[in-house]
């Protein structure tokens, strides 16, 4: 036993939990019944994201399914964190295309410069945030995977307010 322990006798009105518990319950009940409550039943219900939300990438394709990318090299040049790897090559028609196009979504800071700089509107950020994976390697999206993505692409400006006023 420790030595002398001083026991302070508080008035019952101060030490009782009944009043505090009642106060807490009243706050709970107020929010439970409030018409302004924000709680959502995720993942059954999902947030509606803003059109300019910047999430994981998506590659636009031509009608025949080819990626629109012409391998110009502007996105790896402008990327501030060097998360884009691009190796250009020539296809059978003599057109330039991306033989290797990989984005490391772990490194990506979702600044959106790649989408802004793209001269052919091929690479886009997406309105998307659910990206759980079982391995780190799966976070490096190759061209095939970028083409397969189906989520909405990020709008560069608000359609209601194109001049950002």
């Amino acid at each position: 036993m420790p030595g002398n322990v001083k026991v302070v006798e508080r008035p019952r009105a101060e030490s009782s939990y009944v009043r505090a518990a009642a106060k807490g319950m009243s706050i709970t009940m107020r929010h439970l019944l409030s018409p302004n409550k924000k709680t959502q039943q995720y993942p059954d219900e999902k947030w509606e994201l803003a059109p300019r939300t910047r999430g994981t990438h998506r590659m636009a394709v031509h009608e025949d399914g080819r990626a629109k990318c012409v391998a110009c090299g502007l996105c790896p040049t402008v990327c501030p964190v060097n998360c884009i790897k691009l190796v250009p090559a020539e296809d059978e028609n003599g057109e330039r295309y991306a033989a290797i196009y990989e984005i490391d979504e772990f490194r990506c800071i979702f600044c959106g410069y790649c989408q802004e700089v793209c001269p052919v509107e091929a690479i886009h950020l997406g309105v998307h945030y659910e990206n759980a994976e079982y391995s780190r390697e799966r976070w490096v999206y190759d061209l095939e995977r970028l083409v397969e993505q189906e989520h909405d692409v990020t709008a560069l400006w608000d359609p209601q307010d194109p001049a950002s006023q």
């Binding site: 110009c72 502007l74 040049t77 250009p88 330039r96």
Partner: protein, 537 residues
């Protein structure tokens, strides 16, 4: 003009700055002396003809009613030139606007983007919207030789390529076909572009119309690193710029040197230089351990080699050096040979066909296909036709020769066989030690060209594995034997060479500069080289 021999000077004012130039100088060249680069397409300093057809270099001259093309306008006394007046700028903007009427603006996939004169000048005019509604004409691409592609839509019809072939290479194989907006560059029907110097038309192209096929879509201009170097293809020693990306050579361009290659180089040199770093490289020091060669670290290898040489004393023997080795490497090998009592290293120079550019007498693809046979001779080397089998006893030193045609037991009977090489030659199997060294593209150094001109080259690539420059390795072997100090940079190696090798007396690394200087021991031509070096400076 100066045809009567009198080179009177004229004094004129360009953009408010007074400049004195020899009579006969064109205004576009006079302007460069005061730091004004007048925009140009058809003018190229290496091409003698000036058709003044692109109309980009129009300047305003006070007292003259119309703008004048500065590439053909001779400077005269009291001329007042304004290169950036409103009238000149408006005229240039109009030219750019006309060029862009049909230009595809495919800069994102064009290999010239970033190094394109149309891009640069169009950017300066700041005209961001086109006023043309009509569709652009589309012509597509053409292969005008086995390795050059022509993108007709990008062409500005400056005719530099046509005039290079006609007036510099004296080979009438390129023409401008059609007229007006249908004009394009082509070869004659049934004829191919087949000239040993045709690669230069890609270099003179101010836009991305002419591209080497092996460079198409390979890299963007801003992703490349560049190093000043010297072409190792033949003893002419054309000055070049090596462009690299991710430790690979992707392009070779000639670098101007009035005394050697002017603005040009041959196609053999381009192809050869790209290939110099291919092949299986030696990248770790090996020393003999019974029947096999064992990989070791540098300190162990150098101690072991120095110990063996120290124990051998001066047994005599033989040596083979590569005529592609740099002066510094040859110098240090000669020191090592002196230590071993070996005189006169043999060197074998592969031979090939020659080619000459008619209008540039100094530029020639020579029969010797090696960078530095002149240097090997300066260091006491003997030119031989083939290898002896190396059966002699004593020491045997090989510097970076691949020993083609050597016997199975080459060097087997030598007391000590030291192989310094960039690659693992088969004939090195009998070596007592193999020391991996860097190729010329992976280190700094100098070559001596056919007329005794010592020219610097600079490191463009990282050497593989533990390979190091030959002078760095050999100076350490010699330092362990009590001969000089270990050098860590090429200045140290060059200074020691200049101090001890009479042929290089008086030369300094900085003094040579990027244009080269004559070696003292290079004979009668030395005076001429020195004079041309001064004129160039």
């Amino acid at each position: 003009m100066a045809e009567n021999g009198a080179r009177a000077d004229v004094r004129l004012t360009i953009d408010g700055v007074e400049v004195t130039v020899p009579s006969g100088t064109r205004v576009i060249e006079a302007a460069e002396r005061v730091g004004v680069v007048v925009p140009r397409y058809c003018y190229h300093p290496g091409i003698p003809t000036r058709p003044a057809q692109c109309r980009m270099c129009l300047v305003e001259v006070e007292g003259r009613p119309k703008l004048e093309p500065s590439c053909t306008l001779q400077a005269t006394d009291d001329m007042v030139v304004n290169t950036a007046s409103d009238a000149a700028r408006t005229a240039r903007q109009a030219v750019i606007e006309f060029l862009l009427v049909n230009h595809p603006l495919d800069c994102p996939i064009c290999d010239a983007a970033g190094q394109c004169m149309l891009q640069d000048y169009a950017y300066v005019t700041n005209q961001l919207e086109s006023r043309v509604d009509e569709p652009k004409r589309i012509m597509g691409r053409d292969r005008i030789s086995d390795d050059i592609l022509y993108f007709a839509d990008r062409c500005v019809i400056c005719t530099r390529c046509v005039r290079f072939m006609r007036d510099v290479a004296e080979d009438d194989s390129l023409i401008v076909a059609q007229r007006g907006d249908k004009a394009y560059i082509d070869t004659f029907p049934g004829r191919e572009l087949d000239n040993p110097f045709q690669g230069n038309i890609v270099d003179v192209c101010p836009v991305g119309a002419l591209v080497h096929e092996d460079f198409v879509f390979k890299t963007r201009a801003w992703d490349m690193d560049s190093a000043a170097s010297v072409c190792p293809g033949c003893p002419t020693g054309c000055n070049v710029t090596i462009d690299t990306k991710e430790n690979q050579i992707v392009r070779v361009k000639p670098r101007h040197n009035a005394a050697v290659n002017s603005w040009w180089m041959c196609d053999y040199g381009r192809r050869h230089l790209v290939m110099t770093n291919r092949g299986v490289r030696a990248d770790v020091p090996l020393v003999r351990d019974g029947e096999q060669l064992r990989p070791v670290d540098w300190a162990t290898a150098l101690d072991w080699v120095a110990g063996r040489i120290d124990a051998l004393g001066s047994p005599g023997g033989s040596a083979v050096v590569s005529p592609d080795a740099s002066n510094e490497n040859l110098f240090y090998v000669e020191r090592l040979l002196g230590r071993l009592g070996i005189t006169g290293a043999a060197f074998i120079v592969p031979q090939g066909e020659t080619a000459a550019l008619p209008t540039v007498p100094t530029l020639k693809l020579r029969a010797d296909r090696a960078a530095n046979p002149a240097g090997a001779e300066l260091f006491g080397g003997r030119r031989v036709d083939g290898l002896r089998n190396g059966a002699s006893a004593g020491g045997l030193v090989v510097l970076d020769d691949e020993l083609k045609g050597a016997d199975e037991d080459f060097g087997g009977s030598a007391d000590f066989f030291l192989y310094l090489g960039t690659r693992l030659a088969g004939a090195a199997r009998n070596a007592d030690a193999v020391l991996p060294i860097a190729t010329f593209a992976e280190m700094d150094g100098t070559f001596t060209n056919f007329e005794g001109r010592v020219q610097r080259f600079h490191q463009a690539l990282r050497p593989p594995g533990l390979a190091r420059p030959g002078w760095m390795v050999l100076s350490r072997v010699l330092a362990r034997l009590g001969d000089g100090e270990a050098v860590n940079d090429v200045r140290g190696a060059f200074e020691r060479m200049a101090a001890e090798a009479p042929a290089f007396a008086g030369l300094t690394w900085d003094g040579i500069g990027l244009k080269g200087a004559a070696a003292a021991g290079s004979g009668a031509e030395a005076a001429g080289v020195a004079a041309s070096a001064e004129a160039d400076a």
